[in-house]
């Protein structure tokens, strides 16, 4: 039997887990519909079955290719390990940053949070010179925000946490008054 990389095992496991979870949750809406024989769960379950078959098919193909070959480690997660822990940490933070931003957006508001988000993104991706780090995001933020808030009247989240809401509404009034 050929040797598969950890990444390939993870892939097939992830797909089967997705299929299994999707099937499990489909039990919640597995109801008959009077005028439709296949019910609410018929179509999703067909897709789930095909996903499981597809995952096993990919797995079988990986096995065939791996027969007799040394462990190649060409998967994404395998290449990742070449770069060491520092790279992992920076990429992990870069991926987590948008999630944190989206999570705080409702409470802190677009107007306060966005420049910080952009500065943090630039810093994580290697820009450490102070001037471009501060000025570029600020310039983009001001121009784009002016266009959407003042010219197009697109409403953006002002935040609802104390202090942040006040800042957001003050900023909107300021920009729209220009």
């Amino acid at each position: 039997m050929g040797r598969l990389s950890p990444g390939q095992w993870f892939e097939v496991g992830a797909w089967l887990a997705v299929a299994g979870a999707a099937y499990g949750f489909s039990l919640q809406f597995d109801r008959d519909i009077e005028m439709y024989r296949f019910g609410a769960a018929g179509w999703p379950r067909l897709i789930i079955l095909l996903i499981a078959l597809g995952a096993l098919g990919q797995f079988a193909q990986d096995l065939r290719k791996a027969q007799g070959e040394p462990l190649s480690g060409t998967g994404y997660f395998d290449r990742f390990s070449e770069h060491g822990g520092g790279f992992f940490l920076r990429m992990g933070l870069t991926l987590a940053l948008p999630v944190v931003y989206a999570g705080l957006l409702q409470g802190m508001g677009y107007y306060f949070l966005t420049p910080l988000f952009l500065i943090a993104y630039l810093y994580l991706t290697g820009e450490h010179r102070i001037k471009p780090l501060i000025l570029v995001p600020l310039f983009l933020y001001l121009v784009v925000t002016f266009i959407f808030t003042r010219l197009l009247y697109v409403g953006l989240p002002t935040g609802y946490w104390p202090g942040f809401y006040d800042f957001g509404t003050w900023f909107v009034v300021l920009v729209r008054g220009i």
């Binding site: 439709y36 024989r37 597809g54 290719k65 991706t125």
Partner: protein, 497 residues
């Protein structure tokens, strides 16, 4: 011909009409390029004011907006991998790799020319054949045929963009699964909503597309910067040559046909037109292995088809009063605001209005050619800006675009989640276009399948023996089997090597 000339003269007859024409043209180009905002936003904003204009000016504005807005989304798709609208998504598949290879000018030049060409051909066909084509489309294309068309489109797409055939299918199936989130199309039963009110309407495709394309690309470039392997794309403003276009004449003609055909079908429209045309270009090209890596034919196929669908979408609207999409649905509203009922009688009672629309769309497509080239000369210079400074702008626009769709912060969260997922999937050989196609076609496919089954009383023989259904299903199955055979052959060769 006289009617067309009369329509054209009405168009230029008053300064207001000329002003409305250019407002629609430029508004469509600008708004069409902003994902999440798009031409539909401008159309919705303008709707209440359209009652103040004459019927011909109001309808003319929307028709011109439709033409220019459909092209507008191609520019950001090519330069930044951010399609302005779903119908521009296939343009990004090859347009953005062309930018990375320093051929942005070629890609945008091709998009300009093909959009103008596709739109102009579509308008000419529309003028010649509206009543006849509308009748054929409506009487011969029902839910079974639309489902079979979706199946065919998905079967062809499974071979595009992924490292292996299995990964291509898994990509599409993931998109189809995501499309089931929300309410089922038959009885409105909640599926995968987890009692979240937000998920009742399903995942909106704009935030998902923004995530899959724009955010994922930013993350991919971020990884390159973190690894220290980032290279600035080369900056060259050369446009495609006539010889290059002449070599693609078959692809252009096929894309006009596919786009026009898809545009006539109510509810199908420019998005399916673009994907179908791209898929067929892959299938028939001698350089199919180059698609997804910067093949000009990919841009040509997508942009010709999506603009060819714009004229065709007017056919069911004008001839039968059936809107083909969101913009044409708004146009029904505009008609009704002016006490005009779109349908066969509009050709009898308001024929001059119809010909103003035809003339406006014709000239709009010509104007796209001129304005598009001018726009290209200026917009291309954005590529001189290092990507690490463009990326914050892209993230900003994507955030606003995702939020502006429904004023929901959750859409921003969905966008970033989709971006991270797409980043990981891209690095492991899955096809993001495949996922997007599955997501967009999933609901359409399921809805039409359910209606089709009820129509034929679940008799499979009746279903597959409908001529158009039979042909499309056979073609789809043949495509799948051919792809499987090729994949097995290649796999055997690899193992033997």
């Amino acid at each position: 011909m006289e009617q067309f000339i009369a329509g054209a003269l009405t168009l230029v007859g008053s300064p207001l009409s000329v002003g409305i024409f250019f407002a629609g043209l430029i508004g469509g180009l600008l708004f069409g390029a902003i994902p999440g905002v798009s031409m539909l936003t401008l159309a919705a904003i303008f709707l209440p004011f359209s009652g103040l204009l004459s019927a011909s000016d109001a309808i003319m504005f929307y028709s011109v907006l439709y033409c220019s807005g459909t092209y507008g989304g191609a520019v950001t798709a090519i330069l930044f991998n951010i399609p302005g609208a779903p119908e521009n998504a296939p343009t990004a598949f090859d347009g953005y790799p062309m930018t990375q290879q320093g051929k942005a000018g070629k890609a945008i030049g091709a998009a300009v020319l093909c959009s103008a060409l596709g739109g102009t051909c579509s308008v000419i066909l529309m003028m010649l054949a509206t009543p006849l084509l509308a009748d054929i489309a409506i009487t011969h294309f029902g839910p079974p045929e639309i489902f079979a068309l979706v199946f065919f489109g998905i079967a062809v797409a499974s071979s595009v963009g992924a490292a292996t055939l299995w990964k291509g299918w898994l990509s599409i199936l993931l998109g189809l699964l995501l499309a089931t989130v929300g309410l089922d199309p038959v009885a409105g039963i909640e599926r995968y909503t987890f009692d979240f009110v937000y998920l009742l309407a399903g995942l909106h495709f704009i935030p998902v597309i923004l995530g899959f394309f724009a955010v994922a690309e930013v993350l991919v470039q971020a990884e390159r910067r973190v690894r220290g392997s980032y290279d600035m794309p080369k900056f060259v403003t050369s446009f495609p040559t006539l010889h290059e276009f002449w070599k693609l004449k078959v692809a252009v003609a096929r894309s006009v046909g596919l786009g026009f055909f898809s545009g006539i079908l109510p509810g199908v429209g420019a998005t399916l037109a673009a994907f179908l045309s791209y898929n067929e270009a892959v299938r028939w090209s001698k350089r199919s292995h180059n698609f997804g890596k910067g093949e000009l034919e990919g841009v040509v196929a997508s942009e010709t088809a999506n603009n060819a669908a714009t004229g065709a979408a007017m056919i069911p609207l004008l001839a039968l009063g059936l809107p083909g999409g969101a913009l044409t649905a708004m146009m029904v509203g505009v008609f009704q605001m002016h006490d005009i009922e779109p349908g066969p009688l509009v050709f009898v009672n308001s024929s001059e209005l119809v010909w103003v629309v035809f003339a406006a769309m014709f000239f709009a497509n010509i104007a796209i050619l001129v304005l598009g080239f001018l726009e290209t000369k200026t917009v291309l210079h954005l590529l001189r800006i290092p990507f690490q400074f463009l990326a914050p702008g892209i993230l900003l626009l994507a955030t606003i675009g995702a939020y502006a769709v429904r004023n929901l912060v959750m859409d921003v969260g969905v966008m970033f989640a989709a971006g991270i997922l797409a980043y990981l999937l891209r690095r492991t050989g899955y096809s993001i276009p495949g996922i997007v196609l599955g997501l967009i076609l999933g609901k359409l496919g399921e809805q039409n399948f359910a209606q089709a089954m009820q129509l034929v009383s679940y008799d499979v023989v009746t279903f597959v023996t409908r001529p158009i259904v039979g042909v499309l299903l056979f073609a789809g199955l043949a495509t799948i089997l051919t792809n499987v055979y090729r994949a097995l052959k290649d796999s055997r060769k690899e193992i033997e090597a």
